[in-house]
């Protein structure tokens, strides 16, 4: 995952790849041809269509999308079906959803190989914009929206991400994952990786607001609570952070969330000068991620500050001898929000679009 994130993150903000000029095609023929590509994806995944897609430049796909958009505007009933109609080239709402997923999936596959093509992200959002109506599955739409959002988070396309998440929030005001994604966006905007200042308090306050909203929608959303705690800590609201971490401890189940909760608890203790408690928290984080380096470095630092230089050195040696491939430390990918769920979410969505 980290390698994928690394490859994605060096991608320049997406511009639509230039395509060659293709002659005007009969709209239905075009739609039929492209439908066939999408159907092959539904059956066989990305491996089955990557070669096919090389025949389709952006302009051709855009043309197909534009036809669908016109259909949706003028005769939405033709597309708002679960079974494709011949008079629209066999397109249906599930197929439109599959097309959105196809392009997001192709983008990610390219990224894993080191050759991400940003126009696929653009095409994914265009298809997703068409995916609506009674035949559209709201959950599928939310999860595909999140897939695209996570990709944008990694690649630093914050402006596009902000506007897409705002639209998603308007459409799905009760979805805690959307609220969390908005919080992650603001938190990343305030992070050392993106900010021009040591941190931006306003962005952190906005992040806190989004996380609190996520928790109001789902009080047991442990990741939102852990992130809220860390944001509060960075804002100097240490007691509030401490309280949130204690609550998160009751609900956190996923190892990476538990790890982060313990790491942050250590930071809170260290800030308060409770170095023994900090060291204990870092050791607890290490128990969850024994091969994860960051907790070991944090432990070394707490011991150093406590004056136990021998133990600090030993912990430092242990930390720096860890195989970095043995654990993708959750801290390394913290600024990418829930992008750690990218691959598993795409796989799950693909299972849903399979005929």
């Amino acid at each position: 995952m980290l390698r994928t994130l690394l490859l994605l993150s060096v991608l320049a903000p997406g511009t639509v790849a230039a395509g060659g000029q293709s002659p005007m095609r009969d709209p239905i023929d075009l739609l039929i041809e492209y439908r066939n590509v999408v159907e092959r994806y539904r059956r066989g995944g990305v491996d089955g269509v990557e070669e096919d897609l090389k025949e389709w430049d952006v302009q051709r796909v855009n043309e197909a999308i534009s036809h669908l958009a016109v259909l949706q505007e003028k005769k939405p009933i033709l597309l708002d079906t679960r079974i494709g109609r011949a008079d629209v080239g066999g397109w249906s709402m599930p197929l439109i959803g599959a097309a959105a997923l196809l392009h997001a999936d192709v983008f990610l596959h390219g990224a894993k190989r080191g050759t991400p093509e940003s126009h696929h992200l653009y095409l994914a959002t265009r298809f997703l914009a068409l995916y609506r109506g009674s035949a559209a599955d709201a959950t599928f739409r939310v999860r595909t929206t999140l897939v695209i959002a996570w990709i944008r988070q990694i690649t630093g396309q914050f402006d596009e991400l902000r506007s897409e998440l705002l639209a998603a929030r308007t459409e799905f005001p009760a979805d805690p994952a959307i609220a969390l994604a908005e919080g992650c966006l603001e938190e990343t905007a305030a992070s050392p990786r993106a900010a021009r200042q040591p941190f931006i308090p306003e962005a952190l306050r906005r992040a806190a607001g989004h996380y609190q909203r996520a928790l109001s929608l789902d009080p047991r959303f442990a990741e939102a609570r852990v992130r809220l705690a860390f944001v509060l800590f960075r804002l100097g609201q240490v007691d509030d952070a401490s309280r949130e971490l204690e609550r998160a401890g009751e609900d956190a189940r996923q190892p990476r969330v538990v790890y982060l909760a313990r790491l942050f608890r250590g930071a809170v203790h260290e800030h308060a000068g409770r170095l023994d408690h900090a060291a204990a928290a870092y050791r607890e984080a290490r128990a969850v991620g024994p091969q994860c380096q960051v907790a070991a470095i944090a432990l070394s630092h707490a011991l150093y500050r406590a004056g136990d230089r021998t133990a600090a050195a030993a912990a430092g040696v242990e930390a720096s001898r860890m195989d970095s491939h043995g654990c993708e430390d959750p801290w390394w990918v913290y600024d990418y929000g829930q992008a750690w769920k990218l691959e598993e979410t795409i796989e799950a969505l693909h299972r849903e679009v399979r005929p």
């Binding site: 630093g156 150093y304 720096s320």
Partner: protein, 296 residues
């Protein structure tokens, strides 16, 4: 004669001092100060204890020892192997070779590299072939955890009793460390290691990390300036990649030209920050030394 003075100072402490704030009175409180003395360009050699004046929080101190130049050094190379140094990777191996060749026969060297992870590639060793060989495994990928790597080097300093040099090379701003600037700066202030840093030839262009996003926290330059100034080292910028070997060598030579002063703090409070000031008596000289230390 100077060896008796600390013992004598213990005996002659007036009874009234016992009612004052705790002051240094044990022999475990030796403070080491690594000092570079130059005429503005070149190191000045041949100085002794009588040439130096050292103050601890403004109070003149009796210098216990001045260890001559050429005292053994334990030298850590802390090298960036994140994606941002891809272009520099080819020159780092010969530069590391130049670094170890410049060391003396009693000196040891160790290697720490970092991208998003920090890796101890070699513990301190007198074997000159190890560092260049280990560096050949570097891949130039990933993010930059400069602060965490520097802290690890500072933590490992305490495995050794020799003088400590930490030479860091980086061409990207920190994008992923857990530790913050102030934590690493504090750790450096708590250490007698001397930190030198070199930034790459393209480092000034932007503050981007490997991911292309603009970065800060504090700018990389400010952090390295703070660390090198705090410890009495220097921050240098490579004009071109071909400069690196010569720069690594010159830093070792400069370290070898330093003096190690030691003293037992006297007449000052034990705890808190102790500002150290060192000057050379009777001549115009530039002195570079650690700014101080935290008493316990």
């Amino acid at each position: 004669m100077t060896r008796w003075l600390p013992v004598l100072a213990l005996v002659m402490i007036p009874a009234g001092a016992q009612q004052q704030a705790p002051r240094f009175a044990t022999r475990t409180d030796l403070v080491r100060v690594d000092v570079l003395v130059t005429d503005g360009r070149r190191p000045i050699a041949g100085l002794g204890a009588h040439d130096f004046e050292l103050r601890d929080n403004g109070v003149l101190q009796r210098i216990d020892r001045v260890l001559p130049q050429q005292t053994p050094i334990d030298a850590w190379l802390v090298l960036d192997e994140s994606g941002s140094i891809k272009r520099d990777l080819g020159v780092l191996v010969p530069a590391a070779g130049a670094f170890v060749r410049a060391l003396g026969s009693s000196d040891r060297s160790g290697l720490i590299t970092f991208h998003h992870a920090v890796a101890l590639r070699s513990a301190l060793t007198g074997d000159r072939s190890v560092l260049p060989a280990q560096l050949r495994f570097a891949r130039a990928e990933g993010y930059t955890s400069l602060r965490d790597a520097l802290f690890i080097a500072l933590a490992l300093r305490h495995e050794s009793t020799e003088r400590s040099l930490i030479l860091a090379f980086t061409d990207g701003a920190d994008t992923i460390s857990w530790l913050r600037d102030e934590q690493v700066i504090r750790a450096a202030a708590d250490s007698d290691a001397v930190i030198y840093a070199i930034t790459g030839p393209e480092g000034a262009r932007g503050e981007s990390g490997a991911d292309g996003l603009p970065v800060s926290w504090r700018s990389r330059r400010e952090l390295l300036e703070s660390l090198t100034a705090q410890t009495g080292g220097r921050l240098l910028k490579a004009g071109s990649r071909s400069d690196l070997s010569a720069m690594f060598t010159s830093i070792v030579e400069e370290m070898k030209a330093r003096y190690l002063l030691t003293y037992y703090p006297d007449g000052v409070r034990r705890d808190g920050w102790h500002r150290i000031e060192v000057r050379v008596k009777g001549q115009r000289a530039q002195v570079r030394a650690r700014r101080g230390y935290f008493g316990s």
